[in-house]
């Protein structure tokens, strides 16, 4: 692993016509990074990943992975990459074990101990046929196959989809261990909240074009987050909340209050602490809002 850049794309384009596809993507992912690739559905995240794996051919531009050309040296790349497709499909009649055996054989055999420890870690049942598994349990098989040959680079398309919170946690822990070993993780999601616990840097794709690349810390400062707060008997005055630093919007509906804020949650939490707070739930971040803010005020970065 002598390279410094794990993924580099230059003007990478896949033009499906009528504005669909991916356009002029210039991206660099450093070795050892956990890189979040965000965008709404249809923004071009899966297209990018399929281009990197030579499943589809670019209209123009190029990509190198671990300093290997994505087209000419694809076999060597795929030997060293683990991939989780966004629309994971497995042979329905096979057991998880048989499916993983097949994929392992395509790699010339894998260490079964690695596979078994991953299965244990994700609490996956390998003995049942795939068709009997829930989406989340299929996704576990998808993750195991992506990790089981201990690849240097992981390309994971919406890996969290369908996973329960406990499995998500062990997944995140695993990603951090891998990054510490110098392995690289490139993962996509359509919400910031799914990657914010693990990603070092984040890119946001919008309508096939790269809109934002930034560190997660910067992005978090910029992101407008929303909290749903349910109060007990007394509710703080809306104006009082609006006056707090960072608070952008306050909507009061009886005892339910929705507060949109940016930056630290601290002033808000301190202000509501005098009241009885029955519950706090956080709402998904709005990616659209994030890049609107980037465009409104480019100096933020």
């Amino acid at each position: 692993m002598s390279y410094a850049v794990a993924i580099r794309t230059r003007g990478l384009t896949k033009d499906y016509g009528e504005g669909h596809g991916l356009f002029d993507l210039d991206l660099e992912v450093q070795r050892g990074e956990i890189f979040g690739f965000l965008g709404p559905n249809g923004a071009g995240k899966s297209t990018t990943m399929r281009l990197l794996l030579d499943l589809i051919v670019p209209t123009r531009g190029s990509a190198t992975l671990m300093e290997l050309d994505s087209r000419a040296q694809s076999l060597e790349i795929r030997r060293r990459v683990g991939f989780l497709p966004g629309d994971l499909e497995l042979y329905p009649r096979l057991t998880g074990e048989a499916m993983l055996d097949y994929l392992g054989e395509l790699r010339g055999g894998i260490d079964p101990r690695v596979r078994d420890s991953l299965a244990e870690r994700f609490d996956a049942d390998l003995r049942r046929p795939v068709r009997e598994l829930s989406t989340g349990n299929r996704q576990k098989l998808g993750l195991i196959q992506a990790f089981m040959h201990e690849p240097e680079l992981l390309i994971l398309d919406e890996p969290i989809a369908g996973l329960d919170p406990l499995v998500q946690q062990s997944f995140h822990a695993l990603l951090q261990e891998l990054a510490e070993q110098g392995r690289t993780v490139f993962l996509s999601s359509h919400t910031l909240s799914e990657v914010e616990r693990v990603a070092h840097r984040v890119a946001i794709l919008r309508e096939g074009r790269l809109a934002v690349v930034d560190s997660l810390d910067n992005l978090r400062d910029i992101a407008v987050r929303r909290l749903d707060i349910e109060f007990g008997r007394s509710t703080p005055a809306a104006d009082e909340l609006r006056a707090l630093p960072g608070v952008r919007e306050v909507i009061v509906n009886g005892r339910h209050v929705v507060v949109a804020f940016e930056g630290s949650a601290d002033p808000l939490v301190k202000a509501i602490a005098n009241h009885e707070v029955r519950s706090i739930r956080s709402r998904d971040d709005d990616l659209e809002e994030i890049f609107l803010r980037y465009y409104r005020d480019p100096d933020q970065t």
Partner: protein, 260 residues
């Protein structure tokens, strides 16, 4: 050298293919068992030449003619083409459309290699049906009181297998080019049906009789394997067509975007 994709493709279809082969053998056995009862009463049907041509001569008075018409002319090629085409279209374009190939091809396996291994599995399915045909003929002819040598029975099964390879390869090529299961299966099926009709009718029409050479049926049954044994020239043509179509499948699949 291991071939996991070949092994997996065989594994996924082995059960249904063996059942189909057993079905084939049972039908042939029943056809043989019927011969003593109907052979004498029907004899040679006096049909228009084109129709009798389609039915393999329609000579029901001998066990050879009976089997040629009942199994050799329509039923045998129908079953083997159906098995070959569904296996070829399903394991390539079908898996491409469902998305499984998106996962398989993220592993270090070349696309041409994948096509060749899938083609090998189609060949295995075809061979299983051919073996079922031969077993059915051996038992069916014996039940009918004999009358066709083992060599001629085997010749029909061998010609049938090569016919199956070629029709399967048509589906493989269409799947390689388009990635669409419906196009691959429908196109290869239509090709087989048109080939069947051309082989039957083209020789009757002045000026287009040469068209029969474009039909796989000509190379399958044109020299009557059940009556005159294996015809190496015909097998060579079917083998060459199979190889060329498989090569087209491999090359065209390598050059395009994966669907699904």
């Amino acid at each position: 050298m291991s071939a996991p994709t070949f092994a997996m493709a065989v594994r996924l279809r082995i059960r249904s293919t063996v059942l189909a082969a057993l079905g084939m053998a049972s039908v042939i056995l029943m056809v043989g068992a019927l011969f003593p009862a109907v052979g004498d009463s029907i004899g040679r049907l006096d049909l228009p030449k084109g129709v009798s041509e389609l039915l393999g001569g329609a000579d029901y008075g001998t066990i050879r003619g009976w089997m040629r018409s009942e199994i050799g002319a329509v039923y045998g090629p129908l079953v083997i083409a159906a098995i070959a085409i569904t296996a070829a279209a399903g394991s390539t374009a079908g898996e491409e459309e469902s998305g499984i190939l998106g996962l398989v091809l993220a592993q270090p396996i070349g696309r041409s290699r994948l096509v060749l291994e899938k083609a090998g599995a189609v060949a295995v399915a075809v061979l299983i049906i051919a073996v079922g045909t031969l077993l059915g003929l051996i038992v069916g002819v014996a039940v009918a009181g004999g009358g066709i040598g083992l060599g001629d029975q085997a010749a029909l099964a061998v010609h049938l297998a090569f016919f199956g390879f070629a029709t399967g390869a048509v589906a493989l090529a269409l799947a390689g080019i388009t990635g669409r299961r419906a196009v691959a299966a429908g196109g290869a099926g239509a090709f087989a049906v048109v080939g069947f009709l051309i082989n039957g009718f083209a020789p009757l029409v002045h000026g287009v009789s040469w068209l029969k050479y474009a039909s796989p049926f000509y190379y399958y049954a044109g020299h009557d394997p059940l009556g005159s044994g294996i015809h190496l020239g015909d097998l060579a043509v079917l083998a060459a067509a199979t190889a060329a179509l498989t090569a087209i499948a491999a090359v065209s699949f390598r050059r395009r975007d994966l669907r699904g």
